[in-house]
């Protein structure tokens, strides 16, 4: 059986898996990013992880045909260079080349949240949907937009950064330097910093406010780009659950009043494996073996 090596480079952890062309995860490993290490030290963790996953291929009768990577942004196209906001050790780090050197595979990469959008369009909550946004609300906030049946790229492959829409003018300073970005107000790290406790212990009022602010940003994007469906994943959103989604939907309903606008915000469907399935979608697409958005 053919599979791709799928790799997820997050701000706090790295994960890798073998994923077949149906999106089935065959085996999966992950490791916490060791923030004591420098840039090369961090990549050693990644290399060990990839080695461990690839070593399982023979016993599982899997032939690895390529590699897809999703990484936190900002990035340059195809992850030639990555500078994750919340992983400061890597600034302009040549991720794609390093993974290719380590594995000897064809490596294709994309922004993790764009990869997620591909994954949701492939086998998740947006199969056959030509216009949608998928987003992640966890430590940080990001997204990917599919419009007119295509994943939006942007000038340097960074389209989808919904975390940097301004939702509270003059609000908290964001990691990016601006004030009042969604990420500065509603991300897991923002919630921890402003409430003094982790998002898992957040008061109902915090959950409601987070939902409202996410809904406000999504409303602007829905109005701007003319689509209906938004899928939200990530530990904060999914951990908050129903009250979060109800608050977000209420804010959307209040702010999306243009003719024919029927926006819906609901949980992403790929669950904990989503980043790896998205990375696999990037890999399979680059191999020309499938079009994740073909529906």
């Amino acid at each position: 059986m053919d599979a791709v090596l799928a790799v997820d480079i997050g701000a706090t952890k790295f994960a890798a898996a073998l994923v077949d062309d149906q999106g089935e995860v065959i085996t999966r490993h992950q490791v916490r990013a060791d923030r004591e290490r420098d840039a090369d030290g961090l990549f050693e963790q990644v290399a060990e992880l990839l080695g461990a996953v690839m070593a399982e291929a023979p016993e599982r009768d899997v032939s690895i045909v390529g590699c897809g990577v999703g990484a936190a942004g900002p990035i340059t196209a195809n992850l030639e260079l990555i500078s994750p906001i919340n992983l400061t050790e890597w600034r302009g780090f040549p991720l794609r080349r390093r993974v290719a050197d380590t594995t000897g595979l064809m490596v294709a990469g994309d922004l993790d949240t764009k990869a997620l959008a591909l994954g949701e369009g492939w086998i998740g909550g947006a199969v056959g949907v030509r216009n949608f946004m998928s987003m992640v609300v966890s430590t940080g906030i990001g997204g990917g937009v599919v419009l007119d049946g295509r994943l939006l790229e942007g000038e340097s492959a960074n389209a989808g950064h919904i975390g940097h829409i301004i939702v509270v003018p003059g609000g908290r300073q964001c990691g990016c330097g601006a004030y009042g970005c969604l990420e500065a107000e509603a991300s897991g790290s923002a919630i921890a910093a402003t409430t003094g406790r982790p998002p898992a212990d957040a008061h109902a009022a915090v959950v409601e406010r987070t939902g409202r602010l996410v809904g406000r940003a999504v409303a602007s994007v829905v109005n701007l780009l003319d689509f209906e469906l938004t899928l939200v994943g990530g530990s904060v959103a999914l951990g908050f659950g129903l009250p979060f989604f109800e608050a977000a939907q209420a804010e959307l309903d209040a702010n999306c009043k243009l003719a024919g606008s029927r926006p819906v915000i609901r949980p992403a469907e790929l669950g904990a494996q989503a980043p790896l399935i998205g990375a696999a979608a990037v890999g399979w697409q680059a191999l020309g073996r499938l079009d994740p958005l073909a529906g």
Binding site: N131, E153, P169, N223, L224, A259
Partner: protein
């Protein structure tokens, strides 16, 4: 030579023109029908016929019609039946005798700026038109974004003042609710042409805020601005907008985003309408 018939519907005013493939307006006609509710489509027939005849002077033939429909992006919600782009298209096809493609004035503006204006040759930009309505269009990855109902690019409905002024669309604090001509006049109690310095800066800041959100979201660094408000408030507004952009576009890919004024030659509305026609023709084929 293939030519486009361009029709611009803006309020009760109708402008018509003949535009070539290079974006040059060769002939024009203007009509201001008394009965604006009917948009005077029947009155168009003679004007179209005159333009058709004059097109022969340029050794050309009209092969497509493009219509730019003013009144904002929320056409069906507050523009009445006749303002729906689809309806305009149907009714005009009978009159002009060639395929008709219609789009909002904001999207037509974006096409014209990408064609012969300030974003000529640029594959990533947003265009923002500040008039009675605040509308726009977005070109990304070299294509104008359409979206589900073909209305993508509505910068006028990005929320810039949470819980702000009530917008014509029903929401609050949309850019249009804050900086359209009507919004400025009603909140200041003065005509558009008599602004204070602070008002011009305020409008600029809000425009910059919406532009920054769009630049950060979509990974683009050029925002082209036009319309009467932009013309009246000019450099004072642009400066304030640019300051807001500089403060809010801090990501590696959005740093250096610029807001510039439109450069499509007049009559720019007809150039935009023609661009809608040419785009529609290309899509048909």
């Amino acid at each position: 030579m293939d030519l486009a018939l361009a029709i611009e519907l803006e309020g009760s005013r109708i402008a018509l023109g003949v535009v070539n493939r290079a974006g040059k307006v060769l002939e024009t006609e203007f009509a201001e029908p008394d009965d604006s509710s009917a948009r005077g489509f029947d009155l168009l027939a003679p004007a179209v016929q005159r333009l058709r005849e004059r097109a022969t002077r340029h050794a050309g033939e009209i092969v497509v019609a493009g219509v730019s429909v003013g009144g904002g992006d929320d056409l069906e919600s507050d523009g009445g039946d006749d303002a729906s782009a689809a309806r305009v298209r149907e009714r005009l096809a009978d009159v002009v005798g060639v395929a008709v493609h219609a789009d909002s004035a904001g999207r037509a503006f974006a096409l014209s700026e990408g064609w012969v204006g300030a974003a000529k040759g640029v594959d990533y930009f947003a265009a923002l038109k500040l008039d009675d309505a605040v509308s726009g269009g977005i070109v990304l990855d070299g294509r104008m974004l359409d979206g589900g109902l073909g209305r993508a690019g509505r910068l006028g409905h990005v929320i810039v003042v949470p819980d702000g002024r009530r917008c014509g669309c029903g929401a609050r604090g949309c850019l249009q609710a804050e900086v359209s001509i009507a919004a400025i006049e009603s909140s200041t109690g003065r005509p558009l042409t008599e602004p204070s310095y602070d008002v011009m800066r305020h409008v600029g800041r809000l425009v910059g805020r919406a532009a920054a959100s769009v630049a950060n979201l979509l990974d683009l660094r050029l925002i082209v601005c036009g319309g009467r408000v932009a013309r009246e408030y000019s450099s004072t507004m642009y400066l304030a907008a640019q300051e807001e952009l500089d403060a809010s576009c801090r990501l590696s890919f959005s740093q250096g985003a610029r807001i510039v004024s439109a450069r499509t030659p007049e009559p720019s509305g007809l150039v935009g309408a023609a661009a809608v026609g040419w785009r529609g023709l290309a899509k048909e084929r």
